[in-house]
Symmetry: C2
Subunit: 326 residues, 2 copies
């Protein structure tokens, strides 16, 4: 690995001059520049980002903290973040917290130690407090308005939509799944659904979940179909649990959507691949990632930020676990 010193020697100039042509600032005569560029090419020199980062006290690195990239919700989001950051020449330091506070704090510290210029966090667990004294801007993804900068989607409205569609499509005895309290976005969805249902003429019941896992969905579905065999519509907390419910329903011989309508939330990729394909409330996952990155970039560059809380719209995706509307 060639260094700036070697380039300077070969070009017969000082390191200061090399630095000038590298960063394209200060005065450099044309033929001096030429000499330096030749030397750079001959040596295959690339500047050491670490040295640069040390002096400037900032890098081209951004930290991205996710609960678990293995959850199909997050890869799309990560991709949105990356694609947007890449345009501006930023790179990702990346970690999964598994919703463990210890892991989360550990990653945050490591990111900071490595001079990241910003942080995007999509975890549920951590309190704002853990991010408060950081020397760098932070954007929270997929969580509500309590934090200073955030990008999320309109869960409340999504919950409303889900309930409205279920009723419109004929369900009269609904079951609403309620996600665990620490998953904030799931709470908003739930509230939205409840609001609509409470104002309507249908019966409904609420089942609380301890996690949004497939396994948990399966066992809750079992419970629902056993205890309330006349349920004709289920509003799930996300697509994973909706998928589990669909699975269980099919395996015990329910006809979907005739016997039971099912609606999910998120619209992860696989939801359209199920058979029957899953009707759901779509979050613009990829765009959420992009918006978060765009917001962070503005913060990094200390540009004016018009909105510090960016709420994106959700939409109903009509597929085959809900009935045709008459």
């Amino acid at each position: 690995m060639a260094t700036i010193k070697q380039v300077a020697e070969r070009a017969g100039v000082s390191v200061a001059t090399v630095s000038r042509v590298l960063n394209d600032n200060g005065y450099v005569q044309l033929n001096t520049r030429k000499k330096v560029e030749d030397a750079i090419n001959q040596l295959g020199y690339v500047p050491n980002e670490v040295a640069r980062s040390l002096y400037k006290k900032e890098s081209r690195l951004v930290g991205l903290l996710l609960p678990d990239i293995t959850n199909p919700f997050f890869p799309e989001m990560a991709r949105g973040v990356e694609d947007e950051l890449q345009k501006e020449g930023f790179y990702l330091l990346f970690g999964n917290s598994d919703e463990s506070l210890e892991r989360e704090l550990n990653y945050i510290q490591t990111f900071v130690q490595n001079n990241v210029v910003g942080l995007i966090s999509a975890t549920n667990l951590a309190d704002k407090i853990n991010y408060e004294n950081l020397p760098i801007p932070t954007v929270f993804l997929d969580r509500g308005s309590q934090s200073e900068y955030s990008v999320y989607s309109d869960g409340f409205e999504g919950g409303r939509m889900a309930a409205i569609e279920m009723i419109k499509r004929g369900s009269r005895k609904l079951t609403v799944l309620k996600g665990p309290a620490y998953v904030l976005p799931a709470q908003e969805r739930f509230q939205g659904s409840i609001e609509v249902l409470a104002q309507s003429d249908v019966d409904f019941q609420v089942i609380s979940m301890n996690s949004l896992s497939f396994q948990e969905g399966l066992s809750k579905a079992q419970e629902i179909f056993e205890k309330f065999p006349d349920t004709d519509g289920i509003i799930a907390s996300n697509d994973i649990t909706a998928t589990a419910i669909l699975h269980k329903a099919l395996s015990i011989g329910k006809v979907i959507p005739n016997d039971v309508q099912i609606i999910g939330f998120d619209d992860i990729q696989q939801s359209s691949l199920l058979f029957p394909s899953l009707s759901t409330i779509r979050q613009p996952i990829y765009d959420m990632g992009r918006e978060a990155a765009k917001l962070l970039i503005k913060l990094i560059k200390k540009q004016a930020v018009e909105k510090s809380h960016i709420k994106l719209d959700v939409s109903y995706v009509n597929r085959n676990t809900t009935r045709k509307v008459r």
Copy 2:
């Protein structure tokens, strides 16, 4: 952010001494150590990794290069890599290449500029050549033996298994999908299947695909069912295409697996969630990630490496797109 100098001042010692207690080497008297530790705690000091990295010419960072995290195959792999690296205190710099050589080279360069201590690459496109003059060890993931260090699974044997199972379960007119030439692992699978079929008494045909996307799977399925309506078994290149085929088959009224058996490759998470769930050849995706990380760690630590090419076993996963064996 406190610096080592501030710690030294507060503790009334030199920075050299602070460094010694930090790294736990050299002689430090017990009460000196105490003073330093107190100062560290009072100031909330954490060492600057960038400065450390600059001097030592190595970091705690590892580069991970994937084609696309959005492809459900890769998150699990990435998780395996991360979980193993984390144990040793390494962190991930991460990028998606989209199989673009330009992006790939760009990421590699950035990784190197940031002093990564090692690299794991799961891309298909890039030639070994792009990695040859790197100053750091590289492990190739999910690709064959041409490269110096690699972790992959036994695609050839997997391809054989797929064909054997299809025949055993009664298919007599098989269609084998062949992935694009640049996706090396897909070629091996294909070769394995072909070998078995060629030695058997069944009819078979080969359809070449230009990509392993869902869309392409859908259109090839259409073609197959139109042109060869008597096909009673399809061996797909991966689970994504198998899913597309399943979809198309169901939508035109085929009964699965009675009319047509379908077998995939990979066993990505969603395959078990389909209805009917997808029979497939399972790659130990998570373990592949872990093994790659373990191998890289050995290389980084310059420990002896017993095997530079790690081939993991695949297995047949019997689900509901293949028939019960009599």
